[in-house]
């Protein structure tokens, strides 16, 4: 305490210094609440998690927690379900990034054109994003299982009525892509809208006077000018598709099954759900933790590469 008072006394000697110190104090004071909670719910649990991934921790009343080295990591790589989940998550991510961005960008072009009632469209396209993934999954489950077959029967497409989208793992993945596109396209659209509105009119007018046609203007002016938005949207869709969990659980519940390496396994279990299954069904908490660490490393690597590549394409005015 006396040290503290001394510091204050010293500060009194130099008013300029005191001001600076005061500012620093205020700076940390304001930062403290968020820093504190971030450390408590992110940093510290993450560090504990890394430690647990090297042990036989079970999160239950066990007699002792023993260090097992890299065993959990080796086991994870030997688990066919985990390998399959990695592959299927990559497929899902690629499909999802493409579909979400193409649709979101098209919608953004649509609602920034001279279309009548475009504000209503903007709100309408954005709305699905407000609905939680779990509820969305159940709603779409109903649509795929009952609505689509009924409409298909009425229209005479018996193939669609007899082959339910959620009844086969390949089409079930597509169904998940459709649902998540429906959910997130509106949100990504808003980012594109903001970017499109910031494209300088004078550049476009100048190009127009120079005789560039609509496609040339779009290709050479609009696209480069919104590339900053691409960095953000690609990052968001990449991370969100990779971490997909709620729609996965509620729409397909990880199934239906498929054959992989001679074994029947759940066909649409993405990585996040595989990790959760390892903990809740296999009751192998430590291995789930190891898988989560691998998942984190893979995700960080991919997003860093993506951001680096996208950044290079950005144009600064």
């Amino acid at each position: 305490m006396s040290k503290f008072i001394n510091t204050f006394k010293k500060m009194g000697n130099d008013s300029l210094n005191q001001d600076k110190r005061n500012q620093k104090f205020i700076f940390w004071l304001f930062l403290f609440p968020s820093l504190f909670s971030f450390a408590m719910v992110q940093i510290i649990p993450f560090a504990i998690g890394i430690y647990y991934s090297f042990t036989n921790w079970s999160a239950t009343a066990q007699f002792s927690i023993d260090f097992v080295g890299l065993k959990n990591y080796f086991d994870a790589f030997q688990d066919p379900a985990f390998l399959y989940a990695t592959i299927i998550t990559s497929v899902y991510t690629i499909l999802n990034i493409m579909l979400v961005n193409v649709i979101a960008f098209s919608l953004a072009l649509l609602v920034t054109s001279q279309l009548k009632g475009r504000n209503i469209y903007r709100a309408g396209f954005f709305l699905p994003n407000i609905i939680g993934g779990i509820i969305l999954g159940y709603i779409w489950q109903f649509i795929f299982n009952y609505f689509v077959p009924r409409i298909a029967t009425m229209a005479g497409f018996t193939y669609l009525a007899e082959n339910l989208m959620l009844g086969n793992s390949n089409t079930a993945i597509l169904a998940m892509v459709i649902v998540s596109t429906w959910q997130s396209a509106g949100y990504i659209m808003m980012i594109y809208v903001a970017a499109l509105q910031n494209v300088p009119r004078d550049l476009i007018e100048a190009a127009q006077i120079d005789g560039a046609n609509a496609w040339q203007r779009f290709r050479n002016i609009t696209i480069p000018m919104v590339s900053q938005a691409f960095t953000v949207t690609l990052f968001l869709t990449l991370v969100n598709s990779f971490k997909q969990f709620d729609v996965n659980v509620s729409l397909t519940n990880g199934g239906p099954s498929t054959m992989f390496m001679g074994k029947a396994i759940k066909g649409t279990t993405l990585l996040a759900m595989n990790i959760s299954d390892t903990s809740t069904i296999s009751l192998n908490t430590a291995q789930a933790q190891a898988k989560a660490i691998i998942f984190f490393l893979v995700l960080v690597t991919f997003s860093l590469i993506q951001v680096y590549v996208s950044k290079k394409r950005e144009v600064e005015l």
Binding site: P33, F144, G255, S257, T258, K263, K266
Partner: protein
């Protein structure tokens, strides 16, 4: 001014922290966590009445169904040092998780009044929540209309004939399919837990583990497995494809309730969903073997265990005793929660027709055990479930199904 603001905000932070601190409790409070959301209301009412009668507060938390995983909640509670005083286990898997804190209840009075308590190494550790049973639930009215006597349904051939006959009368009976069955994602418990038990226990004397142990050791009885595979295939063939491959609990039970299916592959717990049913129903045995198997599968689905480190240990024991030996507890278990009591001293009868059917099969002693829990949950959910799913989708033949099963059981034994 700035300083005053800073001080005030700091004070607020400190105040808000101290406000969270729990107050001293003098009353005894038991925490009771359980995993059947359908009995939550009845249990809460019972707990309130219990508090009024004894002064001991019972804090009931229900976590189960699709939205809440009790296993995860217990892990969180354990990590937080707030392990409940009473919580359920559903077999060896969850027993092993909590073995270090599960109390020995061998000295309790109710042990003598039940035959389905959970025993480990000769020690009674689990209080049976109820008795449950499953077989092939049938719509007695529709069977009568089709001229089929349910008492003949007790072997494979009888079911083959009955299903074919009913399938030919679809329009007449107004049904979509003969059986209401699910095998899709999220419903693996119907196939890989309940149906799987037919392979292990059907026709085997109650408590006899010889057949199950052989499969567990990877010593595969091919005849039994092939007959079983035919039975599974029979159920899948006569099921509605949508419900079978993509259906959930509601669509499966709903088809039976709306008389769109004659048979339902579920247990007596569906009584709560069938209160509006206008038809008569009961259970028939499974037809998983060519030999006659005259009985249904009956056991306790879960057991309450007491946390031996609890500071309310005695209060928790008293509460369980109250459930068995007082009118209040018995009324809760049987009349309000609609469960079949696992204790011989209770004379009340549940109202549900399927529960009554389970009781009558039990009274005749025509019951087979539940042995599926001898296999790890991970094996059933992640290995067997997808195999049934493959057959349901028509992606594999019955022969391939048998092969996949053989490989899975052999690998499991390693």
């Amino acid at each position: 001014m700035k300083k005053i603001l800073t001080i005030i905000s700091m004070l607020l932070v400190v105040l808000s922290l101290t406000a969270c601190a729990p107050k001293e409790e003098e009353q005894v409070v038991i925490t009771f966590k359980q995993n059947k959301p359908e009995i939550d209301e009845a249990l809460q009412a019972y707990a309130a009445a219990y508090e009024e009668a004894t002064g001991v507060k019972v804090n009931v938390v229900s976590c189960g169904g699709g939205s809440c995983v009790l296993g995860d909640m217990l892990k969180a509670d354990y990590a937080a040092g707030e392990m409940p005083d009473i919580f359920p286990i559903d077999g060896p898997d969850s027993y092993k998780q909590w073995e270090a804190i599960v109390a020995d209840l061998s000295a309790e009075k109710w042990v003598d009044d039940t035959s389905v308590e959970y025993v480990v190494d000769g020690k009674v550790v689990g209080f049976p929540v109820a008795v449950e049973g499953w077989g092939m639930a049938y719509n007695a009215d529709l069977l009568a209309k089709a001229g089929i006597d349910p008492t003949t349904l007790n072997n494979y051939q009888a079911y083959v004939d009955a299903f074919a006959k009913l399938d030919g009368m679809k329009a007449e009976l107004g049904i979509d399919s003969v059986v209401s069955m699910t095998a899709g994602p999220g419903m693996y418990w119907v196939t890989a837990h309940h149906n799987f038990n037919s392979l292990l226990s059907n026709g085997v004397p109650y408590g006899d583990l010889s057949v199950a142990n052989k499969f567990l050791a990877g010593d595969i009885d091919e005849t039994r497995l092939t007959e079983y595979a035919n039975w599974v295939n029979l159920l899948f063939t006569y099921a509605d494809k949508t419900v079978l491959t993509t259906g959930n609990y509601d669509s499966q039970v709903g088809a039976f309730l709306n008389q769109k299916a004659v048979f339902l592959h579920q247990g007596n717990w569906v009584d709560g969903n069938l209160t509006e049913a206008t038809f008569d129903m009961a259970f028939a045995p499974h037809g998983s073997t060519t030999a006659v198997t005259d009985g249904i599968f009956v056991s306790a689905p879960a057991w309450y265990v007491v946390n031996k480190d609890s500071k309310n240990y005695q209060a928790a024991l008293d509460f369980l005793n109250n459930m068995v030996y007082t009118e209040l507890g018995q009324k809760y278990m049987v009349e309000d929660a609609g469960m079949i009591p696992a204790f011989g001293n209770i004379k009340l009868q549940p109202k549900g027709k399927l529960s009554q059917s389970v009781q009558s099969w039990t009274a005749e002693g025509k019951v087979y055990s539940w042995n599926q829990y001898l296999f790890a949950g991970e094996f059933r959910d992640n290995v067997l479930g997808p195999i049934y799913d493959q057959l349901a989708q028509g992606a594999v033949s019955v022969d391939e199904f048998v092969e996949l099963f053989k490989t899975a059981l052999t690998d499991n034994a390693k």
